[in-house]
Each structure stands twice: as structure tokens, then as C-alpha cells.
């Protein structure tokens, strides 16, 4: 099974496809630039594979190679539940590639990011401009020869070329006399409450109807990927907290799982179960924040108090685990920072049986059948399942459109296949369905936590390999051997073998992927995060065009855009 697709590609496109080095049983091929569109179209349309989800496109820079740049495509087939990686080498003198936007709409922003960060030009792309860095930026920061501290000031906020568009349309209002309805350009954000401080949407309006919406992001671009290249594998963990800071644990788990795959190790069952518990707790608080913020944006303040009260309860649990409320850094490569404290399991059980369900039910009573809420959200920002998949939607937003895809079921990890839980799906893909799916997911998460607490096995919380995990603190202070091991691991870092992996987990917003390239040294050569809401937010024009301004507010809130992972 494993390499059927690779074999098919090699046979069908002998000139353009060549095998990639085999590593950790991942399916990967190298594709020549000329044959790329043909291969992509085949993979999308072939009834045996149906790679309908484009998870990621990213660049990579290898200055010593003949073909300096590489574009890496990660495809996923919901049908066969398998990933495929395509690698395309591009020379420095002509860093161009044909665009994939004609096949997957999701390619749009991923290609823009690869252009912004590496300078890879995608021919035929409808709107190839910078996305994360500001428009006065010169150079491409993720190239290896760009200095990490090469700061460039922005002199004035950009109007994104809308002055020209305004005069090209009839935004000036002069056509109103000629019988045309007057149009106006409205700037929303980034300093606007509904945009969570970091998103910006420029909308062309006719009355209150949106004719055209253009989202702009990058206001919280913090250079995660460049910074990660300068740190050791363990040191990256705190940075992952700050990707999706609303559910930091899930990023910790996703990252550590990726590095563990790179190292080829498996953590103990106890670690797996604890990771499941903290992930599901994080999913609950993430959904609570999303629902609270969405409802506040629509105009109802009261449910916010209830949601945040329960969030505080979960914070208490997380604080007892790791000392921090939000930025947890609880996982370690090969295990966890420390075991559960005494009495934690009972406390957790009490919380998930009484307190958290109470908050969920109270919120449910307040809003689910509230007439104003239903009127404001039902049929608003709707998208079909097929479109959603094409845009790269994953997580609750995809499931609200009726596609029952969840990594926990499709590619189970950490014994998720042994837990009894359901995947809620919506039918209309609108804001109301997204709300309902999130509500139900919280209840399902409670079920998973309950089962994981019941089945929590005993065992070590860290693997024994001293090249990967630190010795016990007590031993470090009392035994010379342990002290040496500790020092050596801190100084030398973890040294994974040369190779590259892509690992995904189901985070609160959808598929959270980590693509890690190791060159055998203690620092990652390249880390690319596949953030779930990056793909989702690019579909905003389709979700909102033709609707009212107030609907845009409701829609943005329901997508749960977390700027930390959106802009990284």
C-alpha cells in the first residue's frame, strides 16, 4: 500500500518524477518543474487517489545545491487517508514555478507566502504580492543568506493599492449622478475589535452589501520559522506555545510528536494518554474562546462571562500541571516536563464532570435557540463541503460543511482509535453550523478525557534514551554521570538523523502540520508550520461577498482566526 502512489507516478511520468530518499515511511517524490502541472492535475483527478486537500506549499533554501530553492507540496487524500509530498527543485537564476491555484484554491496564500519568504515566483498566480512582510520590505527573509536581525522599518501603513482600485471602480462617488449606486471602500482593522487586533479587511461596499473583500494579514508576523532555525529542538518548544496561544498545549503536542517522528521514537502510553487529556482540555478552552469572542462580536456580552468562567477552571488545571496559564511548554521531546501532580486526576475528573459541562450547558441555554443569534448566523458565511476542502479548510470549519474529516479518526494517533467519541458534522457550512459543531466537539472532548482518565496507565513520563531526554533532576545534583549527561545534552542538543518528515495532529482549528528538515545537526534546518486557520482565512472573500457588513463580523468570528498561528 505504502508506495502505490509513488510507483504509479514513477511509471506514469518517467521523465518528470523521480524517487525521493526513503525516510520514516513517508510517501515523497521529486518532480521536475516542467512536469509539475501535469502531475498535480493527475493527483487531483485520479479516482484512485483523489488528493483533494492541498495541506501546504512551502519553500526551502539550500544554497549549496545546484538548484538552490525547493518548493514542497503536501497533499492529502481524504479517500485513502494518506499524505504525499512533492518536492520541486528550482534554480536561483530563474526561481519560477507554475501556479497550482487553478487546481486548489488553497494554493493562493501558500504560494504568496513562499514568494514572500523565499522569492519563488508562481507564474499565473492571480495576486502574487507579499503576505506576511510589509510591502516596503526588500529581500526574502527566510533565505539562508538573509540576516535574522535584518529589520526593515515601514514608514507608513499601506493602503494596499486600493486608491487605484477606488478610482478604477466608481468609488469616488462621481458616478452616483449617472444613476449608478454609490460605492465606498471601507477599511476594517487591524485595530478593530472583531479583527482581534491583527487582521485587516478592505471591503468595497454598495450600501451595506459587500461587493469585494480583500483580507490582509501579517500584522503579527513574528518570524517563528527563522527563529526556530537558530535554536535547538528543545528550545523551539516555548515558541510553539505562541503559535495558537489559545490552546498552547496542542502545539506543544504537535511539535513534539513531529520531532519524535523525526527521531524515530515512540513515547510511553502514559505520556500519550496525558497528552490526549491536555489536548482535549485545550480544545475545550479554544472553542470556548472562539464562541465567546464570536458572540461578543455579534453583540451579546453575557455568554462571554460564562465561557470565560469555565476557561478559568481549565486554566487552574493547566497551571497545576506546568505553572503557567497559557504558555504551557509542558511537553518535552520524548515525554513530558513532569508527571501529573498529586490529586490532579481527581480534580480533573471533578472539573470535567461538573464545572465545565455546566458552563457549556449554560452557554447552550443562552444562545443556541436565541432568536437573534439564529437570525444573525443561520445561512451566514456558508460554504459547501467541496469548496471548503478545495480552499484547504480543516477542523470544525470543514466539518460544519458536512465533511467528516478528522485526523483523530482518519489517521489515529495516541490511541484515539480506542476512545469512543463521535465526530459532529454540520450540513450547511454556515456560521450557525460552525457554532453547533464546536459546542458538540466540546462535549465529545469531555467524553475522551473521561475515558483517558479511566484508562490512564502507569509508566515513565520520559523515554530512557539519554541522547534525547534529560536525567532526573535529583540525579543531576547527586551523581556525576547524570551531571555529565545533562550538560552534554544541553550543550550538544538532540541530534536527529538527516532527513525530513511531515507530521500532523488535529488541533482546535484543524490540521496542524509540522514539516521539519534535519541536516543532522542540533538545530533544525527548516521548520514549516502548516497553520489551520491560514488556509481558512483566505476563503473570506468567497464567504462574505454579496452579504452585509454585519455578516462579515459574524463570519470572521466563527472561523476562529488566531493571529499567532496565522502569521507566525
Amino acid at each position: 500500500m505504502a508506495n502505490v502512489v509513488v510507483q504509479t507516478l514513477l511509471e506514469k511520468f518517467p521523465e518528470s518524477v523521480s524517487p525521493a530518499p526513503d525516510f520514516r515511511d513517508e510517501e515523497a517524490v521529486c518532480v521536475a518543474r516542467e512536469g509539475l502541472p501535469e502531475v498535480l492535475r493527475f493527483l487531483y483527478a485520479d479516482p484512485d487517489t483523489e488528493y483533494r486537500l492541498l495541506e501546504d506549499i512551502c519553500g526551502a533554501d539550500y544554497p549549496e545545491r545546484e538548484k538552490r530553492f525547493e518548493a514542497v507540496y503536501h497533499l492529502y487524500s481524504v479517500k485513502t487517508a494518506r499524505h504525499l509530498r512533492l518536492k520541486v527543485g528550482i534554480g536561483e537564476e530563474d526561481p519560477t514555478l507554475p501556479t497550482a491555484t487553478g487546481i486548489w484554491k488553497a494554493a493562493d496564500w501558500f504560494e504568496r507566502e513562499a514568494f514572500d519568504q523565499y522569492g519563488i515566483r508562481f507564474e499565473g498566480h492571480p495576486n502574487l504580492r507579499r503576505i506576511l512582510n510589509h510591502e516596503e520590505f526588500v529581500g526574502h527573509p527566510l533565505r539562508k543568506d538573509y540576516p535574522i536581525k535584518g529589520r526593515q522599518k515601514l514608514t507608513r501603513p499601506s493602503n494596499l493599492g486600493w486608491d487605484e482600485r477606488k478610482s478604477a471602480g466608481n468609488g469616488g462617488g462621481s458616478d452616483a449622478e449617472a444613476g449608478q449606486p454609490e460605492q465606498m471602500i471601507l477599511n476594517i482593522g487591524p485595530a478593530h475589535p472583531t479583527t482581534h487586533g491583527t487582521l485587516r479587511v478592505l471591503a468595497r461596499l454598495e450600501g451595506e452589501t459587500i461587493l469585494e473583500a480583500d483580507p490582509e494579514i501579517g500584522y503579527l508576523h513574528r518570524g517563528f520559522e527563522k527563529t526556530a532555525e537558530t535554536l535547538t529542538y528543545q528550545q523551539v518548544i516555548p515558541l510553539t506555545d505562541r503559535l495558537n496561544y489559545v490552546s498552547a498545549m496542542m502545539n506543544n503536542v504537535g511539535y513534539c510528536r513531529a520531532v519524535e517522528k523525526l527521531l524515530g521514537i515512540e513515547v510511553s502510553k502514559r505520556v500519550q494518554y496525558i497528552r490526549v487529556i491536555v489536548s482535549e482540555l485545550s480544545r475545550i478552552i479554544d472553542h470556548l474562546v472562539c464562541i465567546a469572542a464570536n458572540i461578543v462580536d455579534i453583540g451579546a456580552l453575557t455568554p462571554y462571562w460564562y465561557c470565560f468562567r469555565e476557561r478559568e477552571n481549565v486554566y487552574e488545571l493547566l497551571e497545576a500541571l506546568c505553572g503557567a496559564r497559557m504558555t504551557t511548554s509542558y511537553t518535552r521531546i520524548g515525554g513530558l516536563a513532569h508527571d501529573l501532580p498529586d490529586g490532579w486526576v481527581d480534580k480533573c475528573r471533578e472539573y470535567i464532570r461538573e464545572r465545565v459541562p455546566r458552563g457549556i450547558e449554560e452557554t447552550d441555554t443562552l444562545i443556541t435557540k436565541n432568536r437573534i443569534f439564529v437570525d444573525r448566523t443561520m445561512g451566514v458565511g456558508a460554504i459547501s463541503g467541496e469548496d471548503a476542502l478545495n480552499w484547504g479548510f480543516t477542523g470544525p470549519c470543514l466539518r460544519a460543511s458536512g465533511v467528516p474529516f478528522d485526523v483523530r479518526k482518519a489517521n489515529p494517533y495516541y490511541d484515539y482509535d480506542k476512545f469512543d467519541f463521535d465526530i459532529p458534522v454540520g450540513s450547511n457550512g454556515d456560521t450557525y453550523d460552525r457554532y453547533l459543531v464546536r459546542m458538540e466537539e466540546m462535549r465529545q472532548s469531555l467524553r475522551i478525557i473521561e475515558q483517558a482518565l479511566d484508562g490512564l496507565p502507569e509508566g515513565p513520563i520520559s523515554i530512557e534514551d539519554r541522547r534525547i531526554s534529560l536525567p532526573e533532576k535529583e540525579a543531576v545534583y547527586t551523581k556525576f554521570g547524570a551531571l555529565v549527561q545533562h550538560t552534554k545534552l544541553i550543550v550538544d542538543g538532540i541530534l536527529p538523523p538527516e532527513g525530513e518528515i511531515y507530521s500532523v495532529t488535529e488541533a482546535a482549528n484543524g490540521v496542524l502540520g509540522f514539516y521539519i528538515v534535519s541536516d543532522g545537526t542540533k538545530r533544525p534546518y527548516r521548520i514549516k508550520v502548516r497553520p489551520p486557520c491560514f488556509a481558512i482565512f483566505q476563503a473570506l472573500p468567497q464567504l462574505t461577498e454579496g452579504s452585509m457588513i454585519a455578516d462579515l463580523i459574524a463570519t470572521v468570528g466563527s472561523l476562529n482566526i488566531i493571529a499567532g498561528e496565522l502569521d507566525r
Binding site: 506576511l132 512582510n133 510589509h134 527573509p141 538573509y146 540576516p147 535574522i148 536581525k149 535584518g150 529589520r151 526593515q152 522599518k153 515601514l154 514608514t155 507608513r156 501603513p157 487591524p190 485595530a191 478593530h192 475589535p193 482581534h196 487586533g197 491583527t198 501579517g218 500584522y219 503579527l220 508576523h221 513574528r222 518570524g223 527563522k226 527563529t227 516555548p238 515558541l239 506555545d241 505562541r242 496561544y245 489559545v246 474562546v289 465567546a292 469572542a293 462571554y304 462571562w305 470565560f308 468562567r309 476557561r311 478559568e312 486554566y315 496559564r325 497559557m326 504558555t327 493571529a563 499567532g564 502569521d567
Partner: protein, 165 residues
């Protein structure tokens, strides 16, 4: 303030009661502008929510228009792309105004020192109170708020920022 007659301002017996009343009013009715960009903004939401309840300090009227606010709370990392916008928001807030740098990123850039992050908002705008932490706990935020209140308490309409001298 519009009080321009310097002879009135020299009259301590007159100015001190006015100061006391004005400062008392301002101190317990800060209207924060939540310039939240990142993780710290979620903690700011927690401060505003029921458990920590910022209204105990009279600062629960959170505005998203700079023209209706007097306390600028910058919660989160400011990128180079965001910097001119922060400056613009600050300029749009009417005097008297105070600024709180909420969190390590706003104070100093925090753990981000790279091509796209501003190393502390005090390189762009003046800051009254720094609240460290990544993110600061809600208690730390409230402590910062009390420090702002203390600053307000010590102000006088004779200060240059009010009488323009």
C-alpha cells in the same frame, strides 16, 4: 484643560482641591483602549471577564476607538508592519493619556528578536508602566493598572502636559 491663566495656577489653595478631585475621577474611570495583538490579549480578556473583573478598578469600559479612551494597553508583539498603526492610534488618543506595555513583547520584544519584530513599544511611543511576563498573569495586569492609578494620583493641572507650558 483650557486653563491658561497662570495666576490661577499659581494659587495653590485653588489648584490642590481641583487636582484632588480631577485625579480621583480619572484614576477610577480609566477607559482602556485594548490594542491587543497576541497572547497577552487573551489574558486581557481574562482580566475583563468575570473571574478577575476589571470593573473593580473602574476600568471596565473597554473602548475600541482611540477617541473614547485614555489608557492605551498594548498587549502583544508589535511587528514592523504594525508599528505605524500603533503610532497612529496613540496620536489619535486625546490628552490626558497613559500607556501600559502589557507583556514582555510590548516591553522589550520578548523572546522575538528577529527581522520583523519591534524591540519594545517605547521605541515608537512613550510608556508609563511596563508589565513584564509572557504573558503576565491577570494579577500582574491589575498591579500595572494600580500603578497607572498611582501615576494619575500624582499629577497636577500645573504639569506641562496639561497647561502646555
Amino acid at each position: 484643560m483650557g486653563i491658561e491663566t497662570s495666576s490661577i495656577l499659581r494659587n495653590t489653595a485653588l489648584v490642590e482641591p481641583v487636582d484632588a478631585i480631577l485625579n480621583w475621577c480619572r484614576e477610577y474611570s480609566c477607559w482602556p483602549y485594548a490594542f491587543g495583538t497576541a497572547c497577552c490579549a487573551i489574558e486581557f480578556m481574562a482580566v475583563a471577564a468575570s473571574h478577575y473583573d476589571i470593573s473593580r478598578f473602574g476600568a471596565e469600559v473597554i473602548r475600541f476607538s482611540p477617541r473614547q479612551a485614555d489608557l492605551l494597553v498594548v498587549s502583544g508583539t508589535i511587528s514592523e508592519k504594525m508599528a505605524p498603526i500603533l503610532k497612529k492610534i496613540y496620536d489619535q488618543i486625546c490628552e490626558p493619556k497613559w500607556v501600559m506595555a502589557h507583556g514582555a513583547c510590548a516591553c522589550s520584544g520578548g523572546i522575538y528578536d528577529n527581522y520583523c519584530t519591534v524591540q519594545g513599544i517605547d521605541t515608537i511611543i512613550p510608556v508609563d508602566v511596563y508589565v513584564p511576563g509572557c504573558p503576565p498573569t491577570p494579577e500582574a495586569f491589575l498591579d500595572g493598572l494600580i500603578k497607572i492609578q498611582k501615576i494619575i494620583e500624582g499629577e497636577s493641572i500645573r504639569d506641562p502636559k496639561y497647561c502646555g507650558e
